[in-house]
């Protein structure tokens, strides 16, 4: 087994195991904390895929910001008082069946399709190259995200604030 394979399977195991904790833990705080290793495992997968910059952003945004936001909301709403409550609705069985069906479909699709690579050598994905792409080809998407960020900031503030 090559180093890449070992790394892939180890990262996949970390991600999936912590994902299972996120999905199944009866304690919502444990779920939120288990998100951190799940995100870090995905970060490792990005690195295996030569996407260094995306990996750095993943840690900064997901592990460092979104998790904090989620933990804050848990502490602001139910805190530890939700421990005794039922965390799963009555759709457990149906949900499992649907999830398994979707998994079978996706995996079948992924394994049976033959992907033909386009010609071209692997680009070096430095931050600089990503910057070139954002300021060149993808300029509209780049400026568009600023509008999305502005709108979601305003919307979230309006929703979260008390009505005066």
């Amino acid at each position: 087994m090559t180093g890449e394979a070992i790394a892939f399977y180890a990262l996949a195991a970390i991600t999936l195991l912590s994902g299972v904790i996120v999905v199944s833990s009866p304690n919502i705080v444990h779920s939120a904390v288990a998100l951190v290793p799940a995100f870090l495992g995905v970060t490792g997968i990005y690195i295996l895929l030569n996407a260094e910059f995306v990996a750095g952003v993943q840690v900064l945004i997901y592990a460092g910001a979104i998790t904090v936001l989620i933990l804050f909301v848990i502490m602001l709403t139910e805190g530890g008082t939700g421990l005794r409550l039922q965390q799963r609705n009555e759709q457990g069985t149906i949900g499992a069946v649907v999830a398994a069906a979707v998994a079978a479909l996706l995996i079948a699709g992924a394994t049976r399709t033959v992907w033909t690579p386009q010609p071209g050598t692997l680009a070096t994905y430095t931050p600089g190259a990503i910057g070139q792409s954002f300021l060149g080809t993808n300029l509209l998407a780049f400026e568009g995200t600023s509008v999305v960020l502005l709108v979601s900031l305003i919307g979230a503030i309006i929703i979260a604030r008390k009505e005066d």
């Binding site: 900064l60 502490m75 300021l135 502005l150 503030i157």
Partner: protein, 118 residues
């Protein structure tokens, strides 16, 4: 490049081992003389009242909300900063539009009092 990150992975793994080592040592050698009072939550010496896990004020959320939006904005500035010099004035005007739009968000949050600790 993968070699670099292999180093980082080794750093993280060996590092966690080195942090866990003193914990193992104290688990082996530390004295154990637990009696119930010692295991109580510290509350300035008086008996503990209730759980700490209760609800907190929404203002913490507003700050972390504005933080998340600005943190996301900042990730776009890193690649821009690296190539800015090569691209010249064009890059500057592009980012100026981006920053002006987001500064509107900061101004809005400021005016609406989302940045006030009340």
């Amino acid at each position: 490049m993968l070699l670099d990150w292999g180093y980082v992975a080794v750093f993280a793994m060996v590092g966690s081992g080195m942090i866990a080592l003193p914990l193992l040592v104290i688990w082996l050698i530390s004295p154990r003389s637990a009696y119930p009072q010692k295991l109580e939550t510290y509350e300035s010496g008086v008996p503990t009242i209730g759980q700490a896990w209760s609800q907190f004020n929404v203002r913490y959320y507003l700050f972390s909300l504005v933080f998340v939006v600005f943190d996301v904005e900042i990730i776009y500035l890193y690649p821009w900063a690296v190539v800015g010099r090569q691209l010249g004035p064009f890059a500057f005007y592009e980012i100026l539009i981006f920053l002006v739009i987001l500064t509107l968000g900061l101004v809005y949050a400021w005016r609406k009092g989302a940045l006030e600790w009340v």
